[in-house]
């Protein structure tokens, strides 16, 4: 066998394997869209569930997920962005910085169900917030913190050093430099990371299992200390806990959840490619 032939065989094999990875992904998405589309009616999106979740809509789960994600971002974005600014602009290469870096790496690797346990012990139990939007949002916020820190730090690090030098040489203080010469250029990257964090928070189930998610609660929350239904948990409940659910309702719920998550990712990709094409340095 000549080297050329070997190469052709090897590349074909690699291509087939890559296709075997990508094709199922597209298949999953196509199946959910095809089977879920018939369920997409105005009633489904805007009404309370009825007859033990077998009929009616999924409004409380949509609203619940919205509140949870909003709360998670309100907690994680300022904290994560500040932490990223510290690491990129202030910290020196010392033990503290290394420890912070280590903490972020580990935080990113903690299993989602362990975040759930943490939220249960700290927010629900210790702080006595109970199973509530507040506890769930904080738990999700902690979970997406490493996503936001890592992407913000990368975005800040990608701003050329010369921008800072020019600003300082013009007499700006460090804070002014960060505010006017660094942050504006890092904004698209920070935004992208935040949106990816939102997508992740919207889709996770395990962290909200014991901190907020209600099995069946056909009304809208009135305060942040209420329990709520949430889309991912609702899909889990429909698929495994409730017998004789019309498949349409399951696929419909999966489609709404998938649509939210993929839309977030699409927006993130668009922002990234838009700013990449406009980048001047």
């Amino acid at each position: 066998m000549t080297p050329k032939l070997t190469q052709r065989i090897a590349f074909s094999a690699l291509f087939l394997i890559t296709a075997a990875v990508i094709v199922p992904v597209l298949t999953v998405i196509v199946i959910i869209i095809r089977e879920g589309a018939p369920a997409m009616t105005w009633e489904f999106l805007t009404q309370m569930p009825r007859s033990g979740m077998r009929a009616g809509g999924i409004l409380p789960a949509i609203v619940g997920t919205f509140y949870l994600v909003l709360g998670a971002v309100l907690f994680a974005l300022p904290l994560g962005l500040f932490a990223a600014i510290y690491m990129s602009e202030y910290s020196k290469d010392n033990w503290l910085t290394r420890l912070i870096r280590l903490a972020i790496i580990n935080l990113a690797g903690v299993p989602s169900v362990v975040f759930g346990l943490f939220g249960l012990a700290l927010f629900v139990g210790f702080f006595k917030f109970g199973a509530s939007i507040f506890s769930g949002a904080l738990t999700l916020g902690v979970m997406i913190l490493p996503v936001i820190i890592t992407s913000s730090r990368e975005a800040l690090g990608a701003v050329p050093k010369s921008f800072r030098e020019v600003s300082i040489s013009l007499g700006a203080t460090k804070l002014q430099t960060i505010k006017y010469a660094v942050l504006p250029h890092a904004l698209p990257g920070i935004l992208t990371g935040t949106i990816l964090g939102i997508g992740r928070a919207a889709g996770e189930t395990a962290p909200i299992l014991f901190t907020v998610a209600a099995f069946y609660l056909p009304r809208l929350p009135e305060s942040v200390f209420d329990q709520v239904m949430a889309l991912p948990y609702h899909l889990y409940v429909l698929s495994t806990q409730v017998p004789n659910v019309d498949a349409k309702v399951r696929y419909g719920t999966a489609l709404v959840l998938l649509a939210i998550v993929l839309l977030m990712n699409l927006v993130a990709i668009l922002i990234r490619s838009y700013y990449r094409s406009r980048k001047k340095w």
Binding site: P78, I85, E89, F115
Partner: protein, 290 residues
């Protein structure tokens, strides 16, 4: 002027506090797992907890042996690794080295898409596709098996493995490849004799992080593995993982009971496993840069 300097100081203190907060949060996670989980060990010896072969948390007297759960997690993870590692590395090589520009971007977006799909959605799809397929193909009494979990988890590990391995392959210095070409090697010879070995530690890190993700994954695995909390009897039998046990049982426990503490103790085990895996992966990632 001093007012401005004060403001600078305050902001610096604030951002430093935010940075330190991540250390605090990781410590808090461990402390609170320990605070609740350690109380199990007033009544159950740690050795009996880790090596006990029966998990009957609500019988009288209860049994809190998590060996079947550990083995369940290991079996499912091993199955997923066998599928995901070769596929992931091959796909990474194809994307980094072979695919032309436009195709490359499309493939990378496809991998990102896979990473974005929530695990509960994958679990649901697994229940309606993989589970019946296994039942029909292997004539098992139920399709809810370790094998179903392995297939699903392989897909959840793939985005991590592909993207990090692709990064590692991509950062191999151009001069290495040019050297190989100059010696008359074909593109393929260059890939498997020069590029892949040069990226080896990054690829190992990719595999470790993928496995870390698999061990910690909860919802998808809970939905398709059948959750039988007995010693695993092979890939084509139902199993119960550590994560699924916590997720499935926490809702039914009484706070402050031994069962409640035992689930936190499982949390400690999970936390430590992923901690070690992430540390090892980080060491390999760093070795690459040297």
């Amino acid at each position: 002027m001093s007012n401005r300097r004060l403001k600078e100081k305050i902001v610096e203190a604030l951002v430093r506090a935010s940075g330190v907060a991540s250390i605090l949060i990781v410590s808090l996670i461990f402390v609170f797992l320990l605070k609740e989980g350690a109380r199990l060990f007033f009544t159950v010896r740690p050795a009996a907890f880790l090596t006990g072969t029966s998990w009957y948390p609500i019988s009288e007297p209860p049994d809190f042996g998590i060996l079947p759960l550990i083995l369940g997690s290991l079996l499912v993870t091993l199955g997923a690794a066998v599928i995901a590692i070769p596929l992931g590395i091959a796909a990474a090589v194809f994307i980094a080295e072979v695919a032309p520009g436009r195709v490359k971007e499309v493939l990378k977006s496809g991998i990102e898409l896979l990473a974005a799909i929530p695990s509960v959605v994958l679990g649901f799809i697994g229940m309606v596709t993989i589970v019946p397929w296994i039942k029909d193909t292997f004539h098992t009494p139920t399709g809810l098996t370790a094998f179903a979990g392995s297939i699903l988890l392989a897909f959840m590990a793939l985005p991590t493995i592909v993207s990090i391995a692709e990064d590692a392959l991509h950062s191999v210095p151009r001069a290495y490849k040019e050297g190989a070409y100059a010696l008359g090697a074909t593109h393929w010879q260059t890939i498997y004799r020069v590029v892949v070995p040069a990226a080896a530690s990054g690829i190992v890190a990719a595999v470790m992080l993928g496995i870390g993700r698999v061990i910690g994954e909860t919802m998808a695995v809970m939905m398709v593995t059948g959750n039988a909390a007995s010693m695993p009897r092979g890939l084509l039998a139902p199993v119960r993982t550590l994560t699924a046990t916590v997720a499935a049982e926490m809702g039914e426990t009484v706070q402050g009971s031994d069962h409640y503490f035992a689930l936190f103790a499982i949390g400690i085990v999970l936390f430590l496993i992923t901690f070690v895996i992430n540390m090892i992966a980080d060491i390999f990632l760093h070795r690459k840069r040297r």
